[in-house]
């Protein structure tokens, strides 16, 4: 494994390399496969470069452990609002998740429904392209339309366009309290209806989840509210009334319990350590229950009000990748294989025109095909 300790060292490695790299941060999120075997890691590029709590901005080198970033922010009562998940439990990996890895995967948790994804908080990047050039885009200010937005492009590009060396992010204050409305026993359709109603209310919902099998085996629907204590109580009361047709929601406000509950959702704990494939489907929320139902024998965790479906397909199931892809593209959306057969294409195949644009961009950023060949888009 090569893990240079400076941006310039990284650039000169890339400049002189003729063999492709498997690009990674801490290596805890091995989503998809590449034909490259030589690992190029950013874990040697460490450190928070700048943190201004009053400006809600943090700048860190790509290999900075995520835990360190979160620790620094917590000391000032702030956080990464997009709630990046920890993939280690689900993918059975160990190692240290890095902030660069979060950005490369556009890793965004339950709060994405309210505040946006990682890409929405990413203010600037520095990276090394496939020719060994050090490139910067964006900056450290919250509004920036100076030139093309390569910042968004780099988020979620899984290391296929360049090797991130530094990222700057917008952060947000941590709310004083959290309340979670809970209801057991709803069908998937009812639950999504309830969540849609909650998300379409003025009560600022920061998490909207339905699990077909909760801790005790029955379906559970959860709605999260965050803010000042009185405000959480007020909104919980209003939402309870708004949703009374679905049943009586109970309210949990214990800080430890609510935090643990949302970590359980964020890290997809119910599917951890079980034999089978795990898919991540992005669809229109009201289409989600139909898609899941049409596939048959699966378990689903609906996040983002139904817009994100974590799907568990048990081992030896007859449901194929193409069944899933077909069900999703039939209603509009896409499916990513997060854990499963390495022969299956990880990402949803794109329409021809987009495939051509994507391949064209990759050629421009990485003309020699040094970064993660075979990952994302590239045809088998």
């Amino acid at each position: 494994m090569i893990s240079p300790e400076s941006e310039t060292a990284l650039a000169s490695i890339i400049k002189t390399s003729r063999t492709p790299f498997k690009v990674q941060g801490g290596g805890t999120r091995p989503i998809g496969t590449t034909s490259a075997t030589s690992i190029l890691s950013t874990s040697g590029l460490k450190g928070v470069e700048l943190y201004e709590p009053g400006a809600l901005t943090i700048v860190a080198k790509a290999g900075t452990p995520l835990a360190e970033v979160e620790h620094v922010l917590a000391a000032e009562g702030q956080r990464l609002a997009f709630e990046p998940m920890d993939h280690r439990g689900l993918l059975g990996t160990d190692g240290t998740p890095t902030i660069g890895g979060v950005v490369a995967g556009n890793v965004s948790g339950p709060r994405r429904i309210q505040v946006g994804a990682c890409r929405d908080f990413l203010l600037g990047v520095r990276f090394v392209d496939g020719q060994g050039n050090i490139v910067k885009n964006g900056g450290r200010v919250m509004k920036n339309v100076t030139g093309y937005d390569l910042v968004k492009l780099m988020a979620g590009s899984f290391g296929t366009l360049g090797v991130l060396t530094e990222v700057s992010l917008k952060v947000l204050p941590k709310p004083k309290s959290t309340g979670v409305l809970l209801l057991e026993g709803l069908s998937d359709e009812q639950a999504i209806q309830a969540l849609s109603k909650a998300l379409g209310s003025p009560f600022d919902v920061s998490g909207a989840v339905h699990v077909t099998k909760g801790l005790d085996g029955s379906p559970v629907t959860m709605i999260r509210l965050e803010g000042f204590e009185n405000s959480v109580e007020y909104r919980a009361d209003k939402l309870g009334k708004l949703l009374d047709q679905f049943g009586n929601f109970s309210l949990e406000t214990d800080a430890d319990k609510t935090a643990a509950g949302w970590k359980w959702v964020r890290d997809v704990v119910p599917f951890q350590g079980r034999e089978g494939d795990i898919w991540r489907l992005s669809v229109k929320p009201t289409d989600a229950p139909g898609v899941v139902d049409s596939l048959g024998d699966t378990e689903a965790l609906y996040d983002w009000g139904g817009g994100l479906v974590w799907l568990f397909v048990p081992k030896n199931s007859k449901i194929s990748a193409s069944d899933i892809r077909h069900a999703v593209s039939h209603v509009g959306g896409h499916a990513t294989l997060i854990r499963g057969n390495a022969e299956t294409q990880t990402f949803q195949p794109l329409p021809e025109t987009l495939e051509v644009l994507q391949a064209g961009l990759r050629r421009q950023f990485d003309p020699q095909g040094l970064f993660n060949p075979g990952l994302m888009g590239a045809k088998k």
């Binding site: 709590p53 490139v135 093309y148 004083k176 803010g227 669809v283 025109t353």
Partner: protein
């Protein structure tokens, strides 16, 4: 501001080009008469004008595709145009170009309250998107001050912001999908009514690409439920530095206002003379607005006021009624008009780290004396998005150039302190030649390499965004 010389071989073929455009569009959708193209000679950067060769107003995505395919085949540059409200010259024509206006594409295609999105044609105005959903209690969040006139197409091209983006984000954070036509006429769809489109984030790349990568004809936009209420407070200070510290303390306290607006003394005085909003005559004024139920608003404002008091404000004004709220906003909303009544002005939108606010304001004051031009500052303080308004006299020879030089110095200052040239207006032609102050040649090269993928011949809005010397070899190739 330099623009490239028109290509004589294109100008020579004008009759043929017009004839072929008329073959594919209805007669009233092709404008080539000089008296009629006048309306398209400039956008809101009125200091620069140029008649286009022709203007086309297609009414469908297919017509947009037909026009682009033809122009692609004939090698004719195309300048896309929303409503022409760009402050950066994003829609400025060249003499050899066809202006492609999307004004006739203004329909609502789908509204879905359960899934919280609206799909519209891109010529629809920003405010009328909210207009289409407000009866159900929803709104479209990005609110550029030109929202009555500006089109969604232009909002996407420039990644427009607004006063409330501290909480709701800018266009790119509210855009879920587009139908876009590439320069060769290919119609493509990216994203849709679901979150995070598949593959590389092309949606994020297109948003803010200033009409250089494709022409967006339809957009899927996120809509939100309106908050129960909103209320502003006005806080006056006798010192910019203290006002800046107050902004920073409010943000640190964990309250997230929807807007924090800042005005300096020259701007306060101008708006008072113009609108009479009853603002105090002080050095710096903040308007902070929060949302929620009455009780929630009271709680948040309580915290904000307590912080403000610690900074010894000269004025603290809480609104107790809708009229009082309107009066607090009145001066801010009339600021541009007020400055415009004094003289011609140039409005910049460089963005800086909030911590640099006091220093940058002091430097702008010093430069104002050096250049002999007055400047007022009004801006979105929560996110450091400045709006210095430099006053000049368009009828006085040399004044515009002096103003532009002054503006360039302010923008260079913004970059120097860790900020950027433009926070929400875009580069266009206005800041094109300053790009090399923010970006190294490699940074610009890879951006231009992106355009090569979408538009290899550099026919779409070619003379914008990048310094002409940097893009020269690609434009003439």
């Amino acid at each position: 501001m330099e623009m490239p010389e028109p290509d004589p071989s294109i100008l020579k073929r004008k009759p043929e080009i017009i004839r072929r455009l008329k073959d594919i569009l209805s007669a009233d959708a092709v404008i080539s008469d000089l008296s009629e193209t006048r309306a398209y000679e400039c956008d809101a950067l009125v200091a620069y004008r140029c008649p286009p060769m022709a203007v086309v107003l297609p009414a469908t995505t297919q017509e947009v595709s037909d026009v682009l395919m033809l122009c692609h085949e004939m090698g004719v540059p195309v300048v896309p145009r929303g409503s022409g409200t760009s402050l950066a010259g994003g829609a400025l024509p060249t003499r050899d170009c066809v202006i492609l206006g999307v004004a006739r594409l203004n329909g609502v295609l789908e509204t879905d309250y359960e899934n919280r999105f609206i799909r519209v044609q891109s010529g629809r105005t920003n405010l009328s998107v909210t207009g289409a959903v407000e009866d159900e209690g929803f709104f479209y969040a990005p609110d550029p001050s030109s929202q009555l006139a500006c089109a969604i197409a232009g909002n996407i091209a420039m990644n427009s912001g607004g006063a409330h983006c501290l909480k709701y984000g800018v266009t790119t954070n509210n855009l879920m999908g587009v139908t876009m036509v590439l320069m060769d006429g290919t119609i493509t769809e990216i994203g849709g009514a679901y979150l995070d489109a598949a593959g590389l984030d092309l949606l994020g790349l297109i948003c803010g690409s200033e009409g250089q990568l494709g022409v967006v004809t339809e957009a899927t936009l996120r809509i939100l439920r309106k908050p129960e209420g909103a209320r502003p407070v006005l806080i006056g200070f006798d010192n910019n530095e203290v006002a800046g510290a107050c902004v920073s303390d409010i943000i640190k306290a964990g309250v997230l206002p929807v807007a924090i607006e800042f005005m300096d003394r020259p701007c306060i005085r101008a708006t008072e003379a113009f609108a009479g909003a009853g603002y105090p005559d002080c050095e710096a004024l903040l308007i902070v607005e929060v949302e929620g139920s009455d009780a929630e608003i009271d709680e948040q404002l309580g915290i904000i006021l307590e912080i403000a008091r610690r900074h010894n404000p000269v004025e603290l004004r809480e609104s107790t009624s809708a009229e009082e709220s309107a009066k607090i906003w009145l001066g801010r909303k009339s600021a541009f008009g007020a400055m415009g009544q004094i003289n011609d002005y140039m409005c910049l939108d460089g963005t800086i780290p909030v911590s640099q606010l006091p220093y940058v304001l002091r430097r702008i004051g010093e430069m104002s004396r050096e250049f002999g031009l007055d400047v007022g500052n009004v801006f979105h303080a929560g996110d450091g998005n400045m709006h210095p308004l430099i006053l000049y006299d368009a009828n006085k020879s040399g004044d515009l150039e002096l103003c532009e030089d002054f503006g360039a110095e302010i923008l260079k200052l913004c970059v120097e302190v860790g900020g950027c040239l433009t926070g929400e207006h875009g580069v266009g032609i206005e800041k094109r030649d300053l790009m090399s102050h923010q970006y190294a040649p490699e940074d610009l090269e890879i951006q231009m390499a992106v355009k090569d993928v979408f538009d290899p011949q550099w026919l779409l809005n070619p003379a914008k965004v990048f310094p002409l010397t940097s893009s020269q070899s690609r434009r003439v190739a």
